[in-house]
């Protein structure tokens, strides 16, 4: 650090004479005479908000004049900047000064620069356009020889930097990792951390440098690198298991007090570092016994060492407990951790108590008895004055809810709900109550009443799934029909009572639920006439506080009831009122009702009683309109074009000048909107295609609230996953809660000595009702997931549900887009499955296309047939590709039938796919290993063939691949060969899957073998994999392209100059097809549509357009990073050829 002083001193000798920090009273005067001082004092002197506003506006306008005056010196500018920051902090807009902040950072001397940078970091946000102007300054300062300037630049980069300009500074920052000063290296690492956060793909090639930082001789730099590691391990823990040992060693050293004293904090060694390491270990050891075993010792030591009664040791302890419970369990450690949790829970300090409860919530599923131990504390916390403590307690109770304690817990939750006003809390709690009620409701009355409370409090803020699920539950019912009817009847009765109350306002959603239920199930009432229900609904309809959406629901209910009613005065009055309504929607409904009302027979057939769950056949394609459309077309009408297409056409007509930016790509550019370029291309041939446009029509017709009632399935489900796996309900044990309480009390009497005032007894009573079913005898109940608990309100599983509503279209879309792919994949799966008989793998592969292929039937075919099939099939996939296709020697093919050795059968299998030439990766005097890649349709198959060059037999030759980040490597069977004969060749094959997009990566491994039982040897090798190894063509139609295009949010645009040899679109696309394996869907004029997918199934679409020798590329994908990578590859290809 002394260097800083030296350098800055030589740079600015005149300034050194100024006073030291911590000056005297003279200094105070100086400040009070400063402008900021007077501003601050002026403001504090004011009494009203209005006066303050006036003063600040005055100040701002004078500042505005000053900063834009040419005579203003930088020194004055610095002063102004400070005042501007102050004004902004008070909430006033000072945006006119932003540009001057950048200028100050650029032009000022060190002092002014410092303020300029600070102002920039406070004023601007990451995507602010002015930020681009800062890049040059940063680049200049990073290259400065003055340490302070470098530090300032790094500080600002670590806080705020435009994503797309990272490449401009990245090399400079990488250089700084080798800087001699610790502070520079540390800041450089943090800058890279920032880059990793905002654009992980931009820094992934320097992972090796992160490792260097981790090994830095300075603790500060190492600690900084842990931020990056924590983030990366969170995303993909499997890639960093090899570092576990290092992290453990570091933690051991820290815990053992081996760090310099300056890292101590209140005599605790580097607490921040410890916590960071503990978090990393927790992530690494999760579900991984081998890795966890490495850390048991150090965790034990951490728990032991943290005894000091200081806040910071509790922080470490808490993290340690968390880690112990996240990794593969070890009973000793768990015991100690449980004791620690006890310390927290029982602590008189409220912060620690809170954390104790928090710890209990996450260990409760593993260790329910722990909650039992602390039940009295939990009960106390339930009535705690601090709502935060209460809330955490409820969270804990939520996780231990079962069929026996549900009523007590939900009651507590409702109590809390009634007190809270914060929307976020209400939404959260209401969701939990609804979930519990659905799962464990003891009886009908309780269920309906609880849901009533949920609806009236949750009202219009709750998640829309809650009322939808509730209605679906009512409509679909359970196995027992009488039970269902009772539930419905109870609901109807309870709603009628609620509606009878005067001057009570219910949330709109609740009213909607009521109107639907009343419309559907009022027929269950004996005494109440439909007329009376209609009258009640009518009253609501005339109420001004009811929204028009709710009115649509109400009128739908009235419509349903009209067919059951005898006299219909109210209905007539209603029709009369609403046919002249100003609301067009209401008028429409009223007219519909009117027409139906005139024809009672039609009405009855149209609105049958209790049929909401039956399927309606809907002609989604609107084919009955075909004749009408044809007639229209023949009379010269223009063919229908979807909205996005019309808009795109309009845009393209307007576009005379090329507004697209040159050079830089702004991938997140919003101005392009979401129009489909496919739309343009399809313009000519879509015309009246009723199948596609028809679908759109039906969607738009369904928009009205009332139409939802008439959807294909009654209520359109959104949560498919919930319903899929459950199959029918079990009867409920109708125990009353009081019985449980009694049981629990007797249990308690045996185990506990009771000391007690009356209040105490009440608490115990509560405890026993809360913690019933939690003991060791019924731990299973505790785990909410264990379905042994009888669920009263289960929904029936319905396969058809998956197909209803809007989900259909997207569903179909993905299916069709993959159908071609899976057909191609067909043969491949076929061979590999049957030859290697790996059932598990098969399941995985087919998960994509399970609906399209019947996988089981394939495997049942006799073996001989398969081989014949194999030889018949032609390599159609890459038929028009100029890459060479590997043909196995005839002899091998012939021997397949006899010899089922892996290597040869494997060769047979691979003939269908492209593969690279074999390349020697390593060798010695005994063996040589060469590898090649086979680009299979569903994965990359890496083949290493090991040749034994020596004349000796090799024993237990084994090839192993190190786990690599980004990749998932699966061993194909037969990798460990016991004996390898002299001068023979064996192949090892691994299928490689990619876990997230990247540009390039390495796969390393080693081969080990024994020679004559004595001498063992090992040989390492590595191969380079590129993203292109995982790109496959995606064969979809132009229509599917259009739909997919609209559904993807991530897009990237870029213009690429084409070389002369490929100046025409077709040849350019051909290049892309050959080099990048993109599939050309269609070429229309000067536009082309291409598609590909990143294995296993991330689609990416490309739209190309040619202007002169510029090729405009436009990518879209469901994955945010893939377009960037592909663009990079495209550029390489286009510029390279």
């Amino acid at each position: 650090m002394s260097d800083i002083v030296e350098k800055t001193l030589t740079a600015l000798p005149g300034l050194f004479l100024q006073n030291q920090p911590g000056g005297g009273p003279a200094a105070a005067k100086a400040s009070f005479s400063s402008r900021l001082g007077s501003l601050v004092r002026g403001i504090t002197a004011l009494t009203s908000k209005h006066e303050e506003e006036k003063l600040i506006q005055q100040e701002l306008s004078s500042l505005k004049a000053t900063v834009s005056a040419p005579t203003t010196t930088l020194k004055m500018m610095k002063e102004c900047m400070v005042r501007l920051i102050y004004c902004e902090m008070l909430g006033y807009d000072a945006s006119f000064g932003y540009i001057h902040a950048i200028k100050l950072a650029q032009q000022g001397n060190l002092l002014e620069k410092r303020v300029g940078y600070l102002a920039v970091s406070l004023f601007l946000h990451e995507s602010h356009e002015l930020l681009l102007l800062l890049v040059n300054t940063v680049v200049k300062d990073l290259q400065s020889t003055n340490l302070v300037e470098v530090c300032m630049a790094l500080t600002v980069v670590s806080q705020i930097f435009p994503r797309e300009m990272i490449p401009a500074v990245l090399p400079l920052i990488e250089d700084k990792l080798q800087h001699s000063k610790e502070i520079v290296r540390r800041k450089a690492v943090l800058a890279l951390y920032k880059f990793h956060l905002i654009a992980p793909n931009q820094v992934q090639h320097i992972h090796i440098k992160f490792r260097k930082a981790l090994c830095d001789r300075d603790v500060g730099v190492m600690a900084a690198s842990l931020h990056i590691y924590l983030r990366m391990i969170k995303e993909n823990s499997s890639g960093y298991k090899d570092l576990t040992g290092s992290f453990v060693t570091i933690l051991k050293q820290v815990v053992g007090g081996k760090l310099p004293v300056e890292f101590n904090y209140h005599s605790v060694p580097a607490p921040w570092l410890q916590i960071q390491l503990l978090r990393i270990l927790g992530l690494l050891g999760k579900d991984d016994q081998r890795t966890s075993e490495l850390m048991y010792d150090v965790l034990d030591e951490s728990l032991r060492r943290a005894e000091l009664n200081h806040n910071v040791t509790y922080a470490i302890l808490f993290e340690c407990v968390h880690t112990v419970y996240s990794i593969y369990p070890k009973s000793e450690l768990l015991e100690k951790a449980a004791k620690c949790i006890g310390k927290f829970v029982l602590s008189p300090k409220i912060n620690l108590k809170y954390l104790g409860l928090k710890a209990l919530t996450y260990v409760i599923q593993q260790d329910p008895t722990l909650a039992l131990q602390h039940q009295m504390t939990i009960i106390e916390c339930l009535d705690h004055l601090d709502p935060i403590i209460k809330r955490e307690t409820l969270e804990l109770l939520y996780r231990i809810t079962n069929a026996q304690n549900i009523t007590v817990i939900v009651q507590k939750m409702l109590e809390y709900l009634h007190q809270s006003k914060e929307e976020y809390v209400i939404v959260n709690l209401v969701g939990k109550i609804a979930e519990l009620a659905e799962k464990y409701a003891p009886d009908n009355a309780w269920f309906i009443q609880t849901m009533n409370a949920v609806f009236s409090v949750g009202g219009d803020v709750m998640h829309p799934d809650i009322p939808n699920n509730f209605l679906r539950l009512l409509a679909e019912g359970f196995d027992d029909e009488t039970e269902d009817q009772q539930l419905r009847l109870y609901a109807v009765q309870s709603y009628l009572t609620l509606l009878d109350m005067e001057n009570v306002f219910y949330p709109q959603r609740f009213l909607q639920v009521m109107s639907w239920v009343l419309g559907e199930y009022s027929y269950l009432l004996d005494k109440e006439m439909p007329e009376e229900v209609i009258a009640k609904l009518y009253k609501l309809l005339m109420n001004d506080s009811v929204s028009s959406e709710t009115k649509a629901w109400l009128i739908a209910a009235v419509t349903k009831l009209t067919s059951q009613a005898h006299s219909s005065n109210t209905v007539e009055r209603l029709i009369h009122e609403f046919t002249i309504s100003l609301d067009t929607c209401m008028r429409q409904h009223a007219f519909e009702l009117k027409h139906l009302h005139e024809n009672v027979e039609l009405m009855k057939s149209l609105l049958p009683v209790d049929r909401s769950c039956e399927d309606l056949v809907v002609d989604a394609s609107l084919s009955f309109l075909d004749g009408f459309v044809a007639e229209g077309l023949s009379q010269g009408a223009a063919p229908y074009k979807p909205h996005h297409q019309r808009q795109e056409e309009k845009l393209s007509q307007e576009k005379v000048l090329n507004f697209e930016p040159y050079g830089l790509s702004f991938s997140s550019s919003g101005f392009t909107g979401r129009q489909s370029p496919a739309g343009i291309s399809l313009g000519s041939d879509v015309s009246g295609n009723s199948a596609e446009t028809g679908l759109k029509e039906t969607n738009s017709l369904k928009l009205e609230g009332i139409k939802k009632l008439w959807g294909k399935e009654g209520y359109l489900p959104k949560k498919e996953s919930k319903t899929g796996d459950e199959s029918g309900a079990l009867p409920v044990p109708q125990e009353s809660i009081m019985e449980n309480v009694d049981q629990a009390i007797t249990k308690k009497d045996q185990s506990q000595v009771l000391t007690q005032s009356k209040e105490e007894k009440e608490k115990q009573l509560l405890a026993s009702s809360l913690f019933v079913g939690l003991g060791s005898e019924s731990t299973i109940n505790l785990l909410g997931k264990a379905d042994t608990v009888s669920h009263k309100f289960r929904r029936k599983s319905k396969v058809k549900e998956a197909k209803s509503g809007e989900t259909t279209s997207t569903h179909n879309m993905t299916c069709s887009s993959f159908s071609s792919l899976s057909n191609v994949a067909y043969e491949d799966d076929y061979y590999s499955n049957t030859l290697h008989d790996t059932g598990d793998k098969e399941l995985k592969k087919f998960s994509l296309s399970s609906e399209l292929l019947d996988s089981e039937s394939l495997t049942e075919l006799p073996l001989v047939e398969k081989f014949s099939y194999c030889s018949l099939s032609t390599p159609s996939l890459f038929a028009n590709n100029n890459m060479e296709i590997f043909h196995p020697p005839q002899s091998t093919a012939a021997s397949v039938a006899k010899e089922s050795s892996l290597a040869s059968s494997f060769l047979e299998e691979t003939t269908e796919y492209m593969h690279s030439n074999a390349m020697e990766v390593c060798n010695n005097e005994t063996i040589s290993v060469s590898s090649y890649k086979i680009w299979k349709d569903d994965c990359l198959l890496m083949v290493w063939s090991v040749t034994n060059k020596s004349g000796l037999e090799l024993k237990s030759a084994d090839l192993e691949i190190f786990p690599a980040e980004n990749f998932k490597v699966t061993e194909q069977p037969g990798c460990c060969l016991p004996v390898m004969e002299a001068e023979s060749t064996k192949s090892f094959q691994y299928s490689v899957q990619i876990e997230k997009p990247f540009t390039e990566g390495n796969l390393t491994g080693f081969i080990s073998y024994h020679m004559m039982d004595t001498h063992s040897a090992q040989l390492e090798f590595s191969v380079n994999l590129s993203l292109l190894d995982f790109i496959r063509p995606l064969k979809i139609s132009s229509d599917d392209f259009g739909k997919l295009w609209l559904s993807f949010a991530n897009d990237v645009k870029q213009n690429v100059k084409m070389s002369e040899s490929q100046a025409a679109l077709p040849s350019a696309l051909k290049t892309l097809q050959q080099k990048l394996r993109l599939h050309i869907i269609e070429i229309i004029g000067n536009e082309g549509l291409l598609a590909c997918q990143l294995l296993p199934s991330i689609p990416c679409l490309l739209h190309c357009r040619v202007h002169a020798d510029i090729l405009a590329l436009w990518f879209r994908s469901s994955c945010s990073t893939l377009p960037d990578y592909l663009l990079y590859q495209c550029q390489k290809v286009m510029e390279g050829s």
Binding site: S31, Q159, G220, L385, I388
Partner: protein
């Protein structure tokens, strides 16, 4: 850490540092809501708050509230220590810090914060090192550092 706010007992914002990109409107809304919620809490209550999907950790030193927003899985106690260390840094730098020091020299408070926390993560925990870095840069400062009469002794420990 998502952001850090310093505000007075009267609800006046004294310092704000945002580590996540948010619009100005949102920042104002968050600040207003948080200041209200925190000021409404009683002294014996827990220093942690659940607020939307964030955890708020706050602590009062004399007339100033220090308030940090962290994510749910972050460690609340260590965040309290971050606040404490920041107060210690201010205290050492200003020499028994008070609210007025921060009002009149808020840019210094920012400089100290940037040397201690960078991009929302702890950068340097050693008091000595942070202040060394600040003082090196300060040596260039021709402005004197103002002092005001002490109102309170802010740091308890």
């Amino acid at each position: 850490m998502q952001f850090m706010l310093l505000f007075s007992r009267q609800g006046k914002l004294r310092l704000q540092k945002w580590y996540v990109p948010l619009s100005d409107k949102e920042k104002k809304k968050i600040t207003r809501e948080l200041v209200q919620t925190v000021l409404a809490r009683k002294p014996k209550m827990c220093s942690f708050l659940e607020w939307r999907d964030l955890k708020i950790v706050y602590k009062r030193y004399a007339s100033l509230y220090f308030c940090c927003a962290i994510e749910d899985q972050d460690n609340e106690l260590i965040t309290l220590e971050i606040i404490h260390r920041y107060v210690e840094l201010l205290d050492k730098y200003f020499g028994s810090v008070c609210e007025l020091d921060i009002i009149f020299n808020f840019e210094k408070a920012y400089f100290i914060l940037d040397e201690f926390l960078l991009g929302g993560e702890v950068q340097e925990t050693s008091k000595k090192n942070v202040l060394k870095a600040i003082e090196q840069a300060d040596l260039l400062q021709e402005d004197s550092k103002p002092r005001s009469t002490r109102l309170h002794s802010c740091v308890k420990s």
